[in-house]
Amino acid sequence: MWQKNKPYLLLLPAIGTLVLLFFGGLFDGFLKSLGYFPALGQTDFIVTAYRQLFSSSEFWASFNLTLRVALLSSLFAAGLGALLAISLFMLKESTNDKSSSIWHRLFQLPLTIPHLVGGYIIVLLFMQSGFLSRIATNLGVIDTIAEFPVLVNDAFGWGIILTYAWKEAPFISLMIYPVLSRIHQSWRDVSRIFGANRWNYIREIVIPVMMPAWTVATFIVFVFTFSAFEVPFLLGVTYPSTLPVYSYQLYTSGTLADRPEALAVNIILASFTVLLGVVVYAINKRWNAVKGWD
């Protein structure tokens, strides 16, 4: 009996906590997004909030912005992270000494910087009057502030994208590096024997091998940026704002009347990320199962 139920008992504390705190909250939010406020005497389920959202251009503008920002940030971070990881990997392969682990640690520094600070660093760097603009001016690249591109608090979301590209690249490299280090030292030898030069090796072996971990890492970054609040709040513009900021604005508008809409935004956000998660999981599972790599 104990043997049979043991895994469930072991999982109970963690699962219980999450079900209560997380899914309870989610469910609570879901009910309220449907306008279910028993304390206010509202016990009917209505989809007004959702209908309003879907017909409001503000919501769609938010959605588009969020999607764009998340997509670009995760792609940039993915590229930069892969570059980092591959460089580190190649370094380790060719030197064999301990210095590569020091490099590795060094690159994890941005990971330890809180997002708030990361966002602020980007502000200071990329403002039109920021550090880079000052350097550019001193180098004679630009003459007036206005010539420096608008990269912070811009409607496109470059500031947010830059922040995440910077902050999450080390995360991506951290996720794929272990996979790379599982690449057998001898595979380089094997590939050479069969006539592959360094570039062939990277293209045929290194990149395909890190692909699954890479997609997962990129997806995590995507989801994270898709649902992050702090950085878009600091580096975004009032209109359109990203979905989490939009939800926050609705949530704190000072009246309970906007709550269902705020919570509806949340639910839409969550459903979207879960949906994506399921897709990526399915793809990746097949990938791994087929290759017997995990």
Binding site: M127, Q128, S129, V150, N153, T238, S253, L256
Partner: protein, 396 residues
């Protein structure tokens, strides 16, 4: 603390009627949480290092400043607490005005008519003055006590623009001559919204017509057209071609501080001086007002309905209304916020002390400001203007 939690509703109601000594007595030993915007070291320091120690020493009331990012968050939190039936909250003093006050009042988030109980309110404040009796057109009804006054001023760099514009039309000319040098914070930013209200006053024929509820103006839509026209007219010449507006006044100030734009604005006439003092704004920064006057308003302190230390809050507010506290607050080194007191009600020494405060070269004189004061309009307009701005200006 225990005893405050057990305060009955009756006991707290008594505070609204009993004499000051009783109130002061029951305040003893209380801890008072003051919720306010926390993004200025000056203001924080003024509370933490000037007000709090004095309160502690003289009244044995402990003042604890709680930093917030936005006053709206305060109201929102109270809404939640009210909804959840939380009867003993931790907010004891909140710093609000305008829209927030109206929202709080509409939702019955404020405790009651307490300001009449405060000796300093009774002694030094002209209760009947419109800017004291009304908060953005909303009757105050003693729910909040005035803490300071603000008046809208424009901030410019004298070395770049020696003769600042004196009206909205001149401003438009200036903007066209100096493309990219002017902007205003995106609405619903408070200051940005105030700027738009100046445009409203000047382009639609004065402020008087807006001292009544918005609903009583039949064709408000068309009446506001000139305002949108004006704003759209200057838009192409604004900072970044008007494609976007600074998120907040603070961001705009950063732009000004770094020289990216040549003009900014403030609802705090002494802010520029204080920024110069900190080295953020250039030394040649000056402020100016329009000939037609600029908006002024009052900001208030209030006590939420579920405060657990109402007596302490009253004592603390009373202390903050004292001539000494107000004089200290006026000094740009501390904050530079205009006094809420009526100068004429003060003793001569107190008046001298207040006049002796050096407001800095960037600040206009108190009389200059006094002569160019316009009243705010009621907050239902503000909502209309903010929504309209998004539609007519930002999105286009």
């Amino acid at each position: 603390s225990q005893n405050t939690d057990n305060q009955t509703a009756e006991e707290t109601e008594q505070l609204l009627t009993s004499d000051w000594q009783t109130i002061a007595d029951s305040a003893t030993g209380q801890q008072v949480n003051m919720y306010m915007w926390g993004g200025s070291d000056n203001i924080n320091r003024y509370i933490d290092e000037w007000v709090a120690p004095r309160l502690n020493q003289e009244h044995n009331v402990e003042l604890n400043r709680v930093p917030m990012n936005d006053s709206q968050d305060i109201i929102n939190q109270l809404v939640d607490e009210k909804f959840a039936g939380k009867s003993s909250g931790s907010m004891d003093i909140i710093w609000i005005n305008g829209e927030n006050f109206k929202a709080a009042k509409d939702n019955e988030l404020l405790w009651g008519s307490f300001s009449g109980q405060l000796p300093n309110f009774n002694d030094f404040i002209d209760k009947d003055a419109p800017e004291i009796a009304y908060d953005f057109g909303e009757p105050v009804d003693g729910l909040e006590a005035p803490w300071g006054k603000a008046q809208f001023v424009f901030v410019h760099d004298e070395s770049k623009s020696p003769t600042p514009p004196k009206s909205m039309d001149e401003l438009a000319e200036w903007v066209q001559e100096n493309p990219g040098q002017f902007t205003y914070p995106a609405l619903p930013d408070f200051t940005g919204s105030a700027f738009v209200r100046h445009v409203l006053y000047e382009t639609t024929g004065g402020y008087e017509q807006y001292q009544q509820p918005a609903a009583s103006i039949p064709n408000l839509e068309t009446q506001l057209e000139p305002m949108w026209d004006y704003l759209n007219r200057i838009e192409p010449y604004l900072w970044r071609d008007g494609e976007t507006y600074p998120e907040s006044l603070a961001k705009q100030d950063q732009l000004y501080a770094s020289g990216e734009i040549g003009m900014t604005m403030s609802y705090d006439p002494a802010l520029a001086a204080s920024e110069v003092l900190k080295g953020r704004f250039p030394e040649s920064t000056r402020t100016f007002v329009l000939d037609g006057g600029t908006l002024s308003n009052t900001h208030f302190l209030s006590i939420p309905f579920n405060s657990s230390a109402k007596a302490g809050a009253m004592v603390a507010i009373n202390e903050m209304l004292s001539p000494e506290a107000q004089t200290a607050k006026l000094s740009p080194e501390n904050w530079g916020d205009l006094s809420a007191l009526d100068l004429t009600l003060l003793s001569l020494e107190q008046q001298d002390a207040m006049n002796a405060v050096d407001l800095g070269a960037a600040t206009l004189s108190l009389t200059e400001l006094e002569e160019h004061r316009l009243p705010e309009l009621s907050s239902d307009y503000i909502e209309i203007i903010e929504k309209g701005w998004l539609q007519h200006v930002a999105k286009e």
